[in-house]
Every structure is written in C-alpha cells, then in structure tokens.
Symmetry: C2
Subunit: 235 residues, 2 copies
C-alpha cells in the first residue's frame, strides 16, 4: 500500500512531522498536494459532507482510511513502522509526548499570530513581539526543559530509551525550526539543552533523514510556515 500525504503546498508546517516519520522508515508515500495542481483533490476531501472528513490538512490516506491530525497520523504510523512501541503503555507514552509537542507547535505559531490565524502578521507586530518575549522567557524553558529532563533520565540516546521514535524526529524539527526562526535567542539558549542539541545531531545523521534533508523533498523554511524568521521578534 502506498500512503498518500495531503498538506498545503510550499511549507513544512505540521506536515513535516509526518514526512520525517515516513522518510525515516522508508515507506512508500506520495506527497500529494506538493503541486498546487492537487489542491482541489485535497479540498474535496476536507469539504466532504459524509464519511470522515478531516478538519484541516495534514491528513494521510492509508488504503480506505483517511486519518487527520498530525499526532493521530503518527500514532497510526508509529507502531506499524518501528517508530513507536507496540505495547499499549509505550504507545500511549510516546503519543502523550507528541501531544505535548503539538501544544508547543501551537504556541510557536502564536508567537507571530497572537491575535489569531486569520489576520496577517503585519497586522499584529506589536502583540507578536510581546508574545515572543514571553515565549522565550517562560515557555521555551518549560517545554524544552521538560524534554531535556526526559533525555537525561531515558537511559539511552533517544527520549524514550535506546530506540528512536517519532517523538525524537519531531524534536529534531523543533530544534531546527527554532534555530531558523529565532537564531539569536536559540544560540543563547542551547547551552541549557545539551541533550536536545545532541539529539538533533543524532537524528540529522540517521541515513534516511540525512538523504531526505539534502533532497528537494525537504521544503526550505519560509515565512508562510510555523517557524518564521522575523528579525524584530528575535531581539
């Protein structure tokens, strides 16, 4: 079976957490809406009046199943493709961590869109600056400190032990994205999270991820995605 991933063209966004899992596990998939040409097919699924239409992209077609919500897609893929434990306790734990990452991703989005996703960044620069300052003062230490602590106690090179899970791939993306969006803040903060910096290197060196990152399938960061570099927010 060939998976089909549907997501907005031109950005990494939430689709990227799924792409990293698909790439790392070498499963066959089509990145359907990479070309704007296929947007119509995607919107038809989202706007369906019967069946199980997802609220928004990304979603994954797996045979007859249509699975929406990033963390839910990873829950489905993880234990099938060696990126999560098969036993319930382990599956729930890894999923719980991914949901915490999902909360962090929403807060990252809010740094440039504190007044909501419907207004342009340019309409909310001043509140975005306040939210970003708060984000670095309170939220980044809380979230990344949590994952750093888990890494310290894991007894292995990855967050849950000796085997990589989709959570490790997602944390790679968080570190990578924060470096892109907030290079100054991140440079100063990285000394607090040596474990996560190591983890980022370790994930980047995994053969399939290394190949993916240097391919044109990896979309570059840009100011339409979750991680946006606005100089004034990084001071």
């Amino acid at each position: 079976m060939r998976y089909e991933l549907y997501y907005w063209p031109g950005i990494q966004g939430r689709g990227e957490y799924v792409r990293l899992a698909l790439e790392d596990s070498s499963v066959d998939y089509a990145d359907v809406a990479r070309g704007a040409r296929d947007m119509a097919a995607m919107m038809k699924i989202v706007e369906a009046r019967s069946g199980t239409p997802p609220f928004a992209p990304p979603f994954l077609k797996a045979g007859k199943l249509v699975i929406g919500q990033t963390a839910n897609i990873l829950l489905y893929l993880g234990s099938r493709h060696g990126l999560a434990p098969k036993a319930e306790a382990g599956r729930l734990w890894v999923h719980q961590l991914q949901l915490t990452i999902a909360d962090l991703v929403l807060e990252i989005h809010d740094t440039h869109h504190p007044l909501g996703p419907s207004l342009y960044y340019e309409e909310q620069r001043a509140p975005a600056k306040k939210r970003s300052d708060e984000f670095w003062k309170e939220r980044v230490p809380k979230y990344l400190g949590y994952f750093e602590r888990l890494l310290e106690g894991s007894g292995g090179a990855y967050v849950t032990g000796r085997k990589a899970t989709y959570v490790d791939l997602s944390l790679f993306q968080i570190v990578d994205g924060l470096r892109y969006a907030f290079p100054r803040h991140m440079k100063a903060f990285e000394r607090e999270i040596p474990g996560l910096v190591d983890l980022h290197n370790r994930v980047a060196a995994r053969p399939n991820i290394k190949t993916y990152l240097s391919s044109d399938r990896r979309i570059a960061f840009n100011e339409d995605g979750i991680f946006r570099h606005y100089k004034e927010l990084d001071r």
Copy 2:
C-alpha cells in the same frame, strides 16, 4: 481498579473532559487534587526525574500507568468504557475529532490570553478583545460549523452515529462553556448550530451526566478556567 484523576483544584479546565467521560460511564474514580491538600502529591508526579512524568495536569493514574494529555486519557478510557469504538478505524476517527476539540480549547484560552499564559488577563485586555472578535468572526464558525456538518451527516443522534462517544460529551462542554463565557455572542450564533444545541440537551439529559451536573462534583465555571466571562470580550 480505581482510577485517580489529577488536576488543578477549583477549575473545570481540561480536567472536565475527563470527568465527563468518567461520570458518564460510572467508573470508580478519585478526583485527587480537588482539595489543595493533595497538590503536593500531584506536583511530585509532574516533577519526577524518572519514569513517565506528564508535562502538566490533567493526568490519570490507572494502576501502574500514568497517562497525561486530555485527549490521550480519553483515548485510553474510551474503548474500555463504551465511549469509543473498539476497532482501530473508529478509535482513530473519534480521537482525531477530540484532537480538533483540543485545538479549539487552546484557541478559546487564547481569547483571554493572546499574549501567553504567563501574563494576567489584566495585562492583555486590548489584544484579548481583538483576538475574541476574530475568534467569533472566523474561528467559531469554522470549528462549530465543522461539527454541525458531521452531526448532519452522522445518521444518528450523536456525532459518529447512534452511540455517544467522549467527543459528544466534550462538545456538550464546549457549548456549555461558550454560553457561560460569551452569552451574547453565543445567543446570536446558536441559530447556526441547531444540531449542536440538540446534542448539548441530549448529553445533559443522560442519566449519569444529569446526576453529575447537579452534584457538587461539578465545579462551577469561573474566571480561573478556560471559559471566562469578561463582559468586554462579549460585545
């Protein structure tokens, strides 16, 4: 086995989605941190340096398992206690809907805390007003319109058909909370969502929920929770 639910005392918050599921299915549980006395026990679990410490309350102790993240707790409870299908496709679908509700809950929180959770509401009144306006103009129609559409197509009285799931209980809470926080906005908007209004009534009339709502186990809405009534945001 008696479940133990851990959550901040004095508010419904995210714990309420779990409480509604536990109450509806009549399982035995202790609401541990209802008394401030037990906060220390809760924080000890959150701050543990080994095992599987959750990032934040709510979390559920189920025997040896400690399960965090509201939607993850419901994923665990749902198929065990008749509030979600047992087959994988149905479980994923119901969970996906709960994750969409979780996104909505975060946006509801952002209406009074657009500059972040660490500042007081009083420090962010003006941006809160802008975010609330945007929320009612763009986001409520998108989210509640989505669930209304699912109800229309479900072929039953509940979102996924003839049987109630934890998603229906959570949507009851969303309608109830929006009525409390934004009575004027909600009054005008309810004509757009007759299915959800019916669903709210139907859930409130379920025997166990009815008993729960009139008991002192149901904490009243207040201005420390997710749904807060600030008159100026409801104009």
